[in-house]
């Protein structure tokens, strides 16, 4: 009842707040869409400002903008880096619709650029703890194996860490990799990784932009504790067909886009595939008659992205997005036939509708699935293990701009989830031996939300929001009241102070018994034993413009994480019908300071990030109930990224990263176990403290060189990208283990700690083209 009263109060408060925005004002609204003149694709993040009215806005992902102006005549300035600046004078006697087609000012900068004048907008916005990246960012920074990866670029930002060297897992402000919400064109993606986390599923040619929220979560997002990664996919050109792609060391990609119906409908298809297996199968074939040769298993991954956009009229447009990706591991020898495959399938149908220049809506119908299958057949004995999570979702999001001072967002979300957890089927063909396990669960999740971004006076701006979420698993219901509040105080036009509070609930959980994200990790719903996780995060900080080229932010945060999940020691997670009994529950908390200095204009661009942070966990049944550091607790984290334009055709880039070593559990004792007859004695390590040791500090430098070829024909582009990963060949510890050192008679003489490093210096070359 008490919660109901709170809920009613907050709902009423939000309702009146929204009503408050609908007040009469002598203002006119100018709205419309901004598109690229050549491709006719919507351009997002374009700054539309009315300097004399001291107001401005940015175009959204559909290129839509809306600005209210309290004057009859106004000068509008439309600015976007990489496009020619547009200045128009408008005489307003009524609300108007004005569309813009922006022309590029540099052939080489025609790729998507998210931020036009991002620093000024960032100073003015209430939004904090947000990172925005474009495909262009990924292509400029040197990368492992020459394969551009946006998630790895995100790891170079303060507050975000990788799970291990070379991996694309994200650990955001002390949260785990399962606490990140990955959304692709509104669809949740459950596993964003290929090859055990070495590459992300996001093909840079298919991605338009990525927004990552570390805190201050907008009310439209929910369902995960620590971050939201919102990926928008590219749209095809409505005017001309183009082909682009890249040929790299381990993978190649190809994208084709163009009009289906000129200025009405477009398509884009992107594909990527690795080719380790082509070489390994050749090697296996060459050694076919070599009895001592063990064949190398085949491994490859691929992904396909597709999107169709259709503009019915000025007020209605539709899109269909599809993603399908798989990792495949195969081993076939004699009568053993082993296959392991995993991946995501996503389909989204969306409708954008503009009710008026003040109200617009996006409604999506979404299908998302992640599954893995392990199949093994040996003579007449077969074995199959699989797990799956599948969603059907409907979502509607509305944006209402009653005046220049208010920006109201509201919407609803409803989803049904199905989970197949550890389904095992095994047995002999004659049926005399049959093994079977596994559980199937169904659950439903829903949410409504509303928020308003509004100004109070010249200096204060607030964003108040509320998300109400509900989760059902059989007869068990869970509800969450998730307030989101943020403020901005403009100290002067170049300095602002910001603060935020956000509560998040997580109703489904990734069950992983390892220190890394593996494809076999299982998604599991909340139930009477496994309660929803909850986080509360507060953050505050300063945003500063230094001159007109540098942008500095300094944020401190504190995050409380309730009902965190871990496993009992020795837990059995695969094919366990009583999985609930293997969990233990505890809490976590994280705090830190993130400093970020960025330069986005001029010949030399880049950023420097520094994070000082602590991440703790405490579980009654782990570490004797004492608090311990999370594995990815990192005291100091530094990243430096520099891109320098040497000439019109030659860019050089470099990154340097440094991080305190991970907290790890290492044995501090041992004993001999001789066990029963038929077994040999073993040395058994004894672990006492959870994560009581530190790995050595991690640091690495990468360099890159991009040479752009002179185009032979108008509209053609190509470049050669040369990268060196780990330039000074630093042997960073991937893990440490203790080994027995034996003499020539096989007798153990001493024990020694040893370190395993993954990647030495690795040069790579990638050829990119577009025509």
């Amino acid at each position: 009842m008490n919660n109901f009263c709170k809920f009613t109060f907050l709902l009423t408060f939000s309702f009146f707040n929204i009503l408050n925005t609908v007040y009469a004002q002598n203002a006119y609204t100018v709205s419309g869409t901004i598109k690229d003149k050549v491709t006719n694709e919507p351009v997002i993040g374009v700054v539309v400002s009315a300097p004399s009215a001291q107001t401005g806005t940015m175009s959204d992902e559909n290129g839509f903008y809306s600005i209210s102006i309290p004057f009859d005549t106004i000068t509008l300035v439309i600015e976007q880096l990489g496009y020619k600046k547009e200045v128009i004078v408008i005489n307003l006697g009524q609300d108007m619709s004005v569309d813009f087609l922006l022309a590029g000012d540099d052939e080489h900068l025609k790729e998507i650029v998210i931020e036009g004048n991002p620093h000024k907008e960032a100073i003015n916005s209430t939004q904090m703890s947000k990172i925005t990246l474009s495909a262009k960012d990924a292509k400029q920074v040197p990368v492992l194996f020459g394969e551009p990866d946006l998630l790895k670029i995100l790891q170079l930002k303060p507050g975000i860490q990788s799970g291990g060297e070379g991996t694309s897992g994200l650990y955001v402000r002390g949260g785990g990799p399962d606490q990140n919400l990955f959304v692709v064109d509104n669809a949740i993606v459950y596993n964003p990784n290929h090859l055990f986390g070495l590459f992300s599923i996001f093909n840079t040619d298919a991605v338009k932009s990525i927004d990552l929220y570390k805190g201050d979560f907008p009310a439209q997002y929910g369902g995960r504790l620590s971050s939201v990664v919102d990926v928008k996919l590219n749209e095809g050109s409505e005017t001309k067909t183009s082909v682009r792609g890249g040929i790299g060391l381990i993978a190649s990609r190809l994208t084709v886009d163009g009009p289906i119906k000129k200025d009405k409908a477009s398509y884009i298809i992107s594909a990527r595939r690795t080719y380790f297996d082509v070489f390994t199968s050749q090697l296996n074939r060459m050694n076919k008659n070599n009895a001592s040769y063990d064949p190398i298993p085949a491994y490859y991954f691929y992904d396909l992205n597709g999107k169709v956009n259709y503009t019915l009229n000025k007020k209605n447009s539709f899109y269909l997005t599809g993603y399908f990706g798989r990792d495949v591991f195969k081993y076939n020898q004699n009568s053993l036939d082993f296959t392991f495959n995993w991946g995501n399938s996503v389909a989204v149908g969306g409708w954008n509708h503009i009710f008026s220049d003040k109200l617009k809506m996006t409604t999506s119908v979404i299908f998302s699935e992640y599954r893995y299958n392990i199949k093994n057949r040996f003579k007449d004995f077969s074995f199959k293990l699989s797990s799956m999570v599948r969603d059907f979702t409907v979502q509607s999001d509305f944006i209402y701009k009653p005046s220049e001072k208010h920006n109201v967002k509201f919407g609803l979300y409803a989803s049904t989830h199905r989970y197949i957890v550890g389904r095992l089927r095994a047995g002999t063909d004659d049926g005399t031996v049959q093994l079977g396990l596994g559980s199937v669960f169904d659950s439903q999740e829903g949410a409504i939300y509303a928020s308003d971004d509004f100004e109070v006076g010249a200096r204060w701006k607030f964003n108040t929001g509320l998300r109400l979420s509900l989760f059902r698993n059989k007869s068990k219901y869970f509800g969450g009241i998730e307030p989101r509040v943020a403020f901005r105080y403009l100290i002067n036009e170049k300095v602002s102070w910001k603060g935020s509070f956000a509560r998040m609930y997580q109703y489904i959980h990734l069950i992983s018994n390892s220190g890394a994200s593996l494809p076999t990790d299982i998604w599991y719903p909340s139930n009477s034993t496994v309660k929803p996780q909850r986080s509360d995060q507060v953050a505050t900080g300063l945003s500063l413009l230094i001159g007109d080229k540098f942008y500095l932010t300094d944020e401190v945060y504190y995050k409380w994480m309730k009902r965190q999940i871990d496993f009992k020691d020795g837990a059995m997670i695969y094919s366990n019908p009583n999985l609930d009994q293997e969990f233990v529950f505890g809490k976590g908390w994280a705090y830190g300071n993130e400093i970020y200095l960025e330069k986005r204009k001029g010949k030399t661009t880049g950023w420097i990030g520094y994070t000082l942070s602590w991440t703790w966990k405490q579980f009654p049944y782990i570490n004797e109930g004492e608090k311990f550091f999370a594995r990815y607790d990192r005291r100091h984290d530094i990243s430096i990224v520099i891109v320098h334009k040497l000439t019109e055709r030659l860019n050089i880039s470099g990154t340097w990263v440094y991080g305190t070593g991970n907290a790890v559990s290492l044995p501090n004792g041992r004993f001999i176990l001789q066990d029963i007859e038929g077994t040999t004695p073993k040395v058994i390590p004894v672990y006492s403290k959870r994560n009581g040791f530190r790995m050595p500090p991690f640091h690495r430098m990468d360099l890159g060189l991009i040479y752009k070829f002179k185009p032979k024909k108008e509209g053609r582009e190509s470049d050669l990208t040369f990268s060196i990963y780990n330039v000074y060949n630093r042997k960073n510890a991937y893990f440490i283990y203790f080994d027995e050192i034996q003499n020539e008679f096989g007798v153990t003489t001493k024990f020694q700690a040893k370190q395993v490093s993954l990647f030495p210096i690795i040069p790579s070359l990638t050829y990119n083209f577009k025509f």
């Binding site: 031996v433 079977g436 220190g515 007859e677 073993k682 672990y687």
Partner: protein, 250 residues
């Protein structure tokens, strides 16, 4: 800090024998430190047994170390109903205690071999599992006629067994032409947890993906295991039949 470690396996018809040692720091010199001069009491069905300190040596039959034992005539009674309570007190006053019982043996029904490999074969063992109880098993296969490779050791529970006749199989592990001895142990959950946790602890040393496991002992005052069992055993000859694609057990 070191602590006492006990390994005590009670097998009907055999003397009470246990190994009592001290754990060591990981980088200490590689030697086993026996705990000497401790008092050991085993209480069962109102009778008390006293394994006494023995010279630290090896059992010539099974190659196992022990340092406390009863004499050859004082053996573990065949009793599946009453518990065995064990209490150990060392010279420093440390007390290690534990309790166990002996589970009824489970017979092996059949053994068969599968292969299309020219050298090696896989094995399939079938036995009767009681569907009404949660049972734990350990199966050990030893190849005694050809040296080197070829040993099978598996610990498992009956969660996945859907038919009354349980079955478990190996990969290509036994050399064709070898004599194979299969032992099936019907084990307690405590022993299953102990062996699994020691395996997890060993595996996590050197595996970056594994979460280190605490040793799950069934004793207080130290680490280790006190358990009892009576394994069943079957021998089979892994030989090529006239059909080269299948191998029969003889």
């Amino acid at each position: 800090m070191s602590q006492p470690v006990v390994e005590f396996y009670l097998e009907p018809g055999k003397p009470f024998r246990l190994l009592l040692t001290e754990s060591a720091g990981y980088f200490d010199p590689p030697q086993i430190t026996p705990i000497e001069g401790a008092t050991v009491e085993v209480v069962h069905a109102g009778k008390v047994y006293y394994p006494t300190p023995q010279p630290f040596g090896i059992n010539p039959v099974n190659k196992k170390f022990y340092n406390y034992s009863t004499d050859q005539n004082t053996v573990v009674p065949l009793d599946f109903d009453s518990d065995f309570y064990v209490s150990i007190k060392d010279k420093n006053g440390r007390i290690i205690e534990g309790r166990t019982s002996i589970l009824r043996p489970v017979e092996i029904d059949s053994i068969s071999f599968l292969t299309d490999d020219p050298e090696k074969a896989a094995i399939q063992v079938k036995f009767q599992d009681n569907p009404a109880t949660d049972d734990y098993y350990r199966i050990i296969g030893i190849q005694d006629s050809i040296g080197g490779e070829g040993k099978w050791d598996l610990i498992f529970n009956d969660d996945a067994i859907q038919t009354e006749q349980g079955g478990i199989g190996s990969n290509y592990i036994f050399f064709q032409g070898s004599k194979v001895i299969i032992q099936l142990f019907h084990i307690s959950k405590e022993y299953y947890d102990f062996v699994t946790s020691t395996k997890n602890a060993s595996d996590s040393n050197g595996n970056p993906f594994a979460q280190p496991s605490k040793i799950m002992s069934n004793v207080t005052g130290g680490m280790g295991i006190i358990t009892g069992f009576q394994p069943t055993q079957k021998r089979a000859y892994c030989a090529i039949s006239s059909d080269s694609a299948s191998i029969s057990a003889r």
